[in-house]
């Protein structure tokens, strides 16, 4: 059984000016998990993350990193910060050195490593995020996606066991999102635990296998992706919306159609095909102007197309379970 790497027990936090930010947080994150903390702006996601590597100290309650209660002494904090790396929402907050190489080297230098070890780690981290060759570039010459990747490299160079990313896809174009998500999948396959904060439910649906819903500093829901996005009431309470496909299926369900809620577009198509029959489904494809599925349906024929959807679903299930 996977060990618990981050655990909080009735953790609360109030800012020095008296503003309460977190209340009674109880979460448990295991090794190798892909976790998402979702919530609207101001829900407390960034404040919660700042506790994970000791930037914030709980006002009451406890946080355990790798089974040990966090100790806020210099030596222990350095250990925690090496273990839990945080990528900030705005890469400009994180990239403060005048060149890429100096910024990525910042973390390893703080760990007191030798110059050769630092160089090796910098090279490795930049290669991992596909930024090799841009070592001498100034951060203000990089695009948003590149800045994000350098920010991730800066954390990777510290070789953390847990990577925490605050809104990793905010402000990125689709290609930038794809590149960042690909890096996260690769890191997760190497057994690194990934925790993301986001209100991008589409991204979270694809990525996370465990979700915490944060609202007004409190955890108001936690569970698997299916459990969370089937519970629309909690989502609406947190000022969030389910993914578009789930929303469509909710509407159909409320309209009396016998459908189950599915979270990805592919699964939703399939569900609708089952519920409405192929003729109605075909009409729906016309309605939503989906070229890809429409072409497939025409070229394969209804039966084979249906078979294909089943195969895709099984394939998806295999990937998720592996």
């Amino acid at each position: 059984m996977a060990k618990t790497i981050i655990q909080t027990e009735n953790m609360s936090f109030t800012y020095p000016d008296g503003t309460p930010a977190l209340h009674d947080i109880n979460i448990e994150i295991k090794e190798g998990e892909r976790v998402a903390v979702i919530g609207s702006n101001g829900a407390g996601k960034s404040t919660l993350f700042a506790h994970f590597n000791g930037i914030n100290k709980p006002t009451s309650g406890l946080i355990k990193i790798d089974g040990k209660p966090a100790v806020y002494e210099k030596k222990e904090l350095l250990e925690i910060r090496q273990k839990v790396g945080i990528v900030f929402q705005n890469p400009d907050d994180q990239l403060f050195a005048p060149t890429v190489v100096e910024d990525v080297a910042f973390g390893p230098m703080n760990l007191g490593l030798s110059d050769d070890e630092v160089d090796e780690r910098v090279e490795e981290a930049l290669e991992m995020v596909g930024m090799s060759g841009l070592e001498k570039k100034a951060p203000h010459h990089l695009s948003g996606g590149q800045k994000k990747r350098v920010a991730i490299a800066g954390i990777l160079a510290m070789r953390p066991e847990i990577m925490v990313l605050d809104e990793p896809t905010t402000g990125l174009d689709p290609e930038g999102v794809r590149q960042v998500m690909e890096i996260l999948y690769i890191l997760n396959r190497k057994d690194m635990s990934i925790i993301v904060a986001s209100h991008d439910v589409e991204m979270v649906t694809e990525f996370a296998d465990k979700i915490f819903v944060l609202h007004d500093g409190e955890i108001i829901g936690q569970g698997t992706t299916e459990e969370i996005f089937n519970d629309c009431e909690t989502l609406y309470k947190a000022h969030l919306r389910p993914p578009k496909s789930a929303e469509l299926l909710h509407l159909l369900k409320n309209g009396g159609f016998p459908v189950n809620i599915k979270l990805t577009v592919g699964e939703a198509y399939h569900e609708i095909l089952h519920a409405l029959g192929s003729h109605a489904y075909h009409n729906l494809l016309h309605l939503v102007k989906d070229d890809l599925h429409h072409k497939l349906l025409h070229s394969l024929g209804e039966d084979k197309y249906h078979e294909l959807l089943h195969l895709l679903e099984e394939n998806q299930r295999d990937i998720t379970s592996s």
């Binding site: 904090l77 900030f88 907050d93």
Partner: protein, 276 residues
């Protein structure tokens, strides 16, 4: 050239490729500072002329724009020029012109002003050349390699990084103001109101800088920064033959100038005269 434009222009210059651009930053820094120091201790205008010619030659081989370089020298000149302008009137010597209210110009004063001006031009050309052939981060790295205290070089590094960001920020604020028809020179709008808006802009920049400072500190702390942290510097760049040639030529030039200044220049009239 506005602030944003001039910083970007300077960046374009430092991004060019030339034998001087690719040289080790420490060598460029030491030699150009050496030229400034030599100019300050020399008392003959002829020495300054030769030094300036050498600097112009360096500007030529580094492919830096002459127009940009001399525009920047001219923009900086008034700062020292203001002090120089008084010298002919206050320096003791033979009076060559007398005016009203006891104002007079002396020959020694004029010579002293000419020497100061030539020194200033050499010093400014050196600094402009250094800033055009070395990116700011390289200058800081060079200072760091030469033993500048960690705290100061860290502050300078941060300043360089965020200088561009704050220029962008200022640009965005100005755009937002322009989009709503704000013009600081629009005389149809009350002067007081315009000043107030400019005040808000400055205040906003201060606030954003303060907030940015806080967040950057948090991000540094989250990567284990402490008072014992070391700073990274590029160890790959080594001093090679190109650097030795540059050192050799510069030192040879200075040595030759010193010999000529001692034995020859003083025979060349006022340009070679010792001005004390």
């Amino acid at each position: 050239m506005n602030g944003v434009g001039s910083v970007r222009e300077l960046e374009k210059e430092t991004d060019k490729e030339s034998p001087l651009h690719s040289m080790d930053g420490r060598i460029k820094l030491i030699l150009l500072v050496f030229i400034v120091v030599y100019a300050v201790f020399s008392t003959q205008i002829m020495v300054m002329i030769f030094l300036e010619i050498y600097l112009i030659f360096l500007i030529y081989i580094s492919h830096v724009s002459f127009k940009n370089s001399f525009t920047r020298v001219l923009l900086l000149l008034p700062f020292g020029g203001f002090i120089i302008a008084f010298q002919p009137f206050i320096h003791p010597g033979n009076i060559i012109w007398s005016g009203y209210f006891g104002i007079h110009i002396t020959d020694a004063g004029l010579m002293w002003a000419a020497l100061l001006m030539s020194r200033l031009i050499v010093a400014l050309t050196s600094i402009v050349l250094l800033s055009s052939i070395s990116p700011m981060q390289e200058v800081v790295q060079s200072f760091r390699k030469l033993g500048m205290p960690r705290e100061i070089s860290m502050i300078l590094s941060l300043m360089i990084r965020f200088l561009f960001m704050f220029f962008d920020e200022l640009h965005r604020i100005m755009h937002a103001q322009k989009a709503r028809c704000f013009d600081a020179f629009n005389k149809k709008i009350p002067y007081k109101w315009r000043m107030k808006q400019l005040g808000y802009t400055v205040a906003m920049m201060f606030l954003r800088a303060y907030e940015q400072g806080e967040t950057v500190y948090l991000s540094m702390a989250s990567r284990g920064f402490s008072d014992e942290s070391r700073l990274y510097h590029d160890r790959q760049r080594k001093i090679g033959s190109r650097e030795y040639i540059f050192i050799g030529i510069t030192l040879l030039l200075v040595a030759c100038l010193q010999i000529l200044a001692t034995f020859l220049f003083h025979q060349w009239g006022w340009l070679g005269m010792y001005i004390l």
